[in-house]
């Protein structure tokens, strides 16, 4: 069951990507595509890339080297798309808060720079495999991408929590799914890139991050397509006070 090429393994590799393509179709049908164009592109390109890698894995004529070459191309394209998607998330989160937009931009740029250095350092200190450089290189690139992605996402979540920002529901859903996915992927790729794992250990890690990705696709479905529950809020009772006096006093102090 928890082995490569088991039924569960096939399901977890194929189903989330089929669902992601279906989500892209629904976004296009409902006109949501225009609001989140990068996510729409990510859903299509990411799903197709994974399905191509899957096909290369199950087709007997595809050699391991061909598989890893396809994997590399997919990895680079997906990595670029993910960073573009992060840009879309940041733009949407900060767009509604003009007073914080500049600070947010400076913060994310700074954190991005630090994370890139940290990713490079982590890759530099990881054990190298000269025999299968194409494999260990892919693991290290994955680790670096997910480290930066994780760090940038946790920054936006902490920033939002600190300032009590309320991002739009779809943006929050995209960030949540991407965040959970990147956490699981970072952990699994870090173990894959740095640890001496047995074949069965690698299979369990594969299944773990495929299952996490499946959950994330379902999260995207929920946040992007399920309508927001509208709750009638009671009007905030305001206390009687002497704000006029305070305001006059404050203005006198400031000017």
């Amino acid at each position: 069951m928890l082995q490569a090429h088991s039924l569960l393994w096939h399901y977890l590799w194929v189903a989330p990507n089929i669902l992601l393509l279906f989500l892209a179709f629904l976004l296009w049908r409902r006109g949501i595509r225009e609001q989140y164009p990068i996510f729409f592109a990510f859903a299509i390109v990411g799903a197709i890339e994974q399905l191509v890698i899957y096909a290369a894995d199950v087709i007997p004529t595809a050699s391991p080297e061909t598989w890893w070459r396809i994997f590399w191309v997919g990895l680079v394209v997906e990595g670029l798309l993910k960073f573009a998607l992060l840009g879309e998330i940041f733009a949407n989160v900060f767009a509604s808060y003009s007073s914080l937009a500049r600070l947010g931009k400076i913060l994310t740029r700074g954190v991005g720079g630090v994370l890139t250095l940290a990713g490079a350092a982590a890759a530099a200190f990881a054990p190298k495999d000269s025999l299968f450089g194409i494999v260990s290189g892919a693991h290290l690139l994955e680790q670096t991408i997910y480290l930066i992605e994780c760090g940038l996402l946790v920054t936006v979540f902490l920033f939002s929590a600190y300032f009590r920002l309320r991002p739009a529901r779809p943006v929050f859903g995209i960030a949540l799914g991407l965040g959970i996915s990147s956490c699981f992927h970072l952990a699994t790729w870090a173990v894959a890139a740095n640890g001496e794992l047995s074949e069965s250990g690698r299979s369990v890690l594969d299944l773990l991050h495929m299952a996490a990705y499946h959950v994330c696709v379902l999260i995207w479905f929920y946040y992007l397509l399920a309508p927001q529950k509208v709750t009638a809020k009671a009007a905030v009772p305001l206390p009687e006070n002497n704000l006029d006096v305070w305001n006059r006093e404050l203005e006198r102090l400031v000017h």
Binding site: Y97, S98, S99, L100, L103, A122, F125, A126, Q143, L147, C150, G151, L153, V154, F157, L158, S160, A161, Y162, F163, R164, L165, R166, F172, L176, G179, I180, S182, C183, F184, L186, A187, A190, V191, A193, N194, G195, T231, K233, A234, A235, V236, P237, L238, P239, E240, N241, N242, L243, D244, W246, N247, E249, L250, E251, L253, V254
Partner: protein, 175 residues
């Protein structure tokens, strides 16, 4: 393997942060009444006295250097307490404003949006001011600029007053 352990722990911490934020968002959106009562009034006159550079100059001239540093540190601690309170009030006002941004009345919704923006600005200014205060605590002889906090607070007060008047013309909101 050490790097793997560090990265796994980092991923776990990130996951906890993300899930905690998700749960808190859910709790926030369920709404709460009586938020206005959480606002604690601030003695602006006392705060003004604390941030007044003329007061500091006067104390610097009148007191021996060691005594001045002692007094200055006490004043900075008091200043930090005021700024923390202003920041807390701003956070409450953010929540009040967020409850009103979807109001049916366009004027109230606009006032709520302005209040939220001003409250965020004040939160940001308070954050920087607190950092400056703690730096000044290490070097009590340095000058400290807390003007942006006062300015932000005045703007916030205007916005809160406008929203209060729109929601309840008979009463206004005190911060």
């Amino acid at each position: 393997m050490t790097i793997a352990i560090i990265l796994v722990v980092a991923a776990l911490v990130t996951l906890i942060v993300i899930l905690t934020f998700t749960v808190s968002q859910g709790l926030q959106s369920s709404g709460r009444t009586g938020l206005a009562t959480e606002i604690r009034p601030i003695d602006v006159a006392a705060f003004r006295n604390l941030v007044d550079p003329a007061e500091d100059d006067y104390l610097r001239r009148r007191l021996p250097a060691s005594d001045f540093r002692l007094v200055r540190r006490e004043r900075l601690r008091a200043m930090a307490a005021y700024v923390q309170l202003a920041k807390r009030n701003a956070a409450v006002l953010v929540r009040i404003a967020q409850n009103s941004t979807s109001a049916a009345d366009a004027q109230t919704a606009e006032a709520a949006r302005r209040l939220e923006d001003n409250a965020h600005l004040l939160q940001r200014n308070c954050t920087f001011a607190i950092m400056k205060i703690y730096i000044a605590l290490a070097w009590p002889s340095s000058n400290l600029a807390a003007a942006p906090v006062l300015q932000g607070y005045a703007q916030l007060n205007n916005s809160a007053m406008l929203l209060g008047r729109l929601q309840n013309p008979a009463a206004t909101m005190r911060i």
